[in-house]
């Protein structure tokens, strides 16, 4: 919960891979993008999205099921034609004249993809390498990277859900793409595999690859992405770094503290006059107490609590999680 992953966009563009060159144009630019489905266009899957993904960023797209994440991805990849608006990927209009060239620099892991059951893992990668126009040399390395080297010769039919997901990821990595689209990449993975996955993603980011991923599991993504956009009913509700979103919303900070027995009244005394919300139970029983205070009063409250001396047994400052941001933007 103790989240403090503030990484400014400026720090990002000066990161690895961008050190020597002048500021790189955003690899993905969406302007007024809309997608309506249905005979009369009554389903607004994506509704007026403006978005710029900075070069080299690890960008998270968050939203509930049906928020429009996959549709947005498919439009950026040229699989779905927008009803309105324009999309530029790696400097080229999507599905424009030289977009085939751009595709060579893109990796994509679709949501819930089912690969070819009757091919082995290695054959699957060779097939996609052939289509990407890269040699087979990188295939064993890609399998190794996602932890599938031991299953290279087994048919995909025999793979578990998690192994299939890893294979899909390995496929996306073929040909060293500059831009990766990963749609709900960790579904079906166990916690260890999820850690492995984010380790690889962090390595890629270190190499200057721009990674865009979607998720509806906020807790998983908030500590890991550089910046994110929150999508709801096809609209972007908020956008920025995790810290920017928190600051912008000015959500209260929570202080969890443990007090030696019987000092409830003293606590009230030291906090008198400070903008703190105290719980009903004043901690006389010795349990953990949760106080909420506005962000700008945080330091004053902590200083006041120090006045309790050794009667204060423990103190934790909890920043609002992205979950709070997410639900905070909802109403």
């Amino acid at each position: 919960m103790n989240a403090d992953t503030s990484l400014s966009l400026a720090a990002l563009s000066g990161g690895a891979g961008a050190a020597a060159s002048p500021p790189i144009a955003p690899p993905i630019i969406l302007a007024g993008v809309e997608k309506r489905f249905g005979p009369t266009g009554q389903i607004r899957a994506v509704d007026g999205v403006h978005l710029e993904v900075p070069a080299g960023a690890l960008f998270g797209l968050i939203g509930h099921n049906g928020a429009g994440k996959s549709t947005l991805f498919k439009m950026m990849l040229g699989l779905v034609t927008p009803s309105a608006g324009s999309i530029t990927v790696l400097g080229r209009p999507v599905n424009g004249p030289d977009f085939r060239q751009v595709r060579r620099s893109i990796g994509y892991l679709p949501e819930n993809v089912v690969l070819y059951d009757n091919l082995t893992g290695l054959e699957t990668l060779r097939f996609f390498a052939d289509l990407k126009g890269v040699t087979h040399a990188g295939c064993p390395a890609a399998l190794e990277r996602v932890g599938l080297a031991h299953a290279a010769g087994r048919r995909v039919r025999e793979y578990s859900k998690g192994m299939r997901q890893r294979l899909g990821f390995a496929q996306a990595l073929l040909g060293d793409p500059r831009l990766l689209f990963l749609d709900e990449p960790t579904t079906g993975l166990d916690p260890e595999a999820i850690r492995d996955f984010y380790r690889i993603v962090a390595e890629l980011r270190g190499d200057g690859v721009t990674v865009v991923l979607t998720s509806h599991i906020l807790a998983e993504i908030q500590e890991r992405v550089d910046c994110l956009a929150i999508l709801e009913s096809g609209r972007i509700k908020a956008q920025g770094t995790v810290q920017q979103l928190r600051d912008g919303l000015d959500l209260p900070v929570t202080l969890a503290l443990r007090l030696a027995e019987g000092h409830g009244p003293l606590l009230r005394a030291v906090l008198a006059g400070l903008p703190v919300t105290l719980p009903e139970d004043d901690g006389t029983g010795g349990g953990v107490l949760s106080l909420a205070c506005p962000r700008d009063a945080k330091l004053a409250v902590v200083a006041a609590l120090m006045g309790l001396g050794d009667r204060l047994l423990d103190l934790q400052v909890q920043e609002p999680s992205l979950e709070d941001v997410f639900f905070g933007t909802r109403g």
Binding site: G78, R103, L131
Partner: protein
């Protein structure tokens, strides 16, 4: 769709072809063809009181009436899944984000599957041809080769229809339904319909146009292609007078078959859009 790149077409075609080799589809279909063709060659004339190979023309005539049911069915079953199946599994999205165009995906799929069906036909009927060859003269061998070639064209035409269905249908279930409907229409209903029109109109309608109507059905083109190159059967069926000589040119009939291969594929490419 600026330019076609042959490389991805070959990669996709190769995968489809080797898939059918590896899952023994090619072997199974070749065996079916061999068994049916051999039984027809040796027992096909049993009702006339004799068992054993008698005449290549009669054998081909029986083979034609078998193959006209079998090959369209096999081709439709082979191809209906080609696009819609990958769409349902999600792998089509993956293919289309690679440097591959939609037209290239269709052509690759079609060529790979056509290769598998052709391989089965050549192996299955070719084996029977080899077995029969000691009893055949050169003319008979040419007839038999003609039958094999036309069977391959028939398969390719129905495979083209299958790929079209696979692009047009919203899901696999509908695609298989549509494929079966096409089979019923072209193999069973079409001829009855034409016959019905002829009978009801007392021969008024159609008449001269009747033979040309048969060109609207690739299965009938296949039948005509075989039947009217065989003198024995021509007299047997007594149809010689009805048929305009212009239509019994194999080259013309093959061109019509080629159109039946190209047109549905063209529709598939046209309708396969983001």
């Amino acid at each position: 769709m600026a330019m076609l790149d042959l490389h991805p077409i070959a990669v996709i075609a190769g995968k489809e072809f080797w898939d059918r080799i590896r899952n023994r589809w090619v072997l199974a279909v070749a065996l079916v063809f061999t068994v049916f063709a051999l039984s027809i060659a040796y027992f096909g004339t049993a009702q006339q009181g004799s068992v054993g190979f008698r005449s290549i023309d009669l054998t081909i005539a029986s083979l034609v009436s078998l193959v006209i049911y079998l090959i369209p069915l096999i081709a439709l079953m082979l191809g209906f899944d080609a696009i819609v199946g990958e769409k349902e599994r999600g792998s089509l999205d993956l293919l289309l984000t690679l440097p591959v165009t939609r037209v290239e995906v269709i052509l690759g799929k079609y060529l790979g599957l056509a290769g598998a069906l052709t391989f089965s036909s050549v192996a299955g009927f070719g084996l029977v041809g080899l077995i029969l060859s000691p009893q055949l003269n050169v003319a008979a061998l040419i007839h038999y080769a003609g039958f094999m070639g036309s069977a391959i064209l028939l398969g390719m035409a129905f495979l083209s229809l299958a790929v079209m269905v696979s692009v047009l249908a919203l899901d696999r279930t509908r695609a298989s339904g549509l494929a079966i409907a096409l089979w019923f229409f072209f193999v069973l209903i079409f001829d009855l319909l034409i016959l019905g029109i002829l009978v009801v109109s007392g021969g008024q309608f159609g008449g001269d146009a009747f033979p040309y109507l048969l060109l609207l059905n690739p299965a009938d083109v296949f039948r005509v292609l075989n039947v009217f190159s065989l003198d024995e059967v021509r007299t047997l069926y007594g149809l010689a007078t009805v048929f305009p000589p212009a239509l019994s040119h194999p080259a013309l009939l093959c061109a019509v078959m080629a159109a039946w291969i190209a047109a549905p594929l063209g529709v598939a490419m046209w309708r396969f859009k983001p």
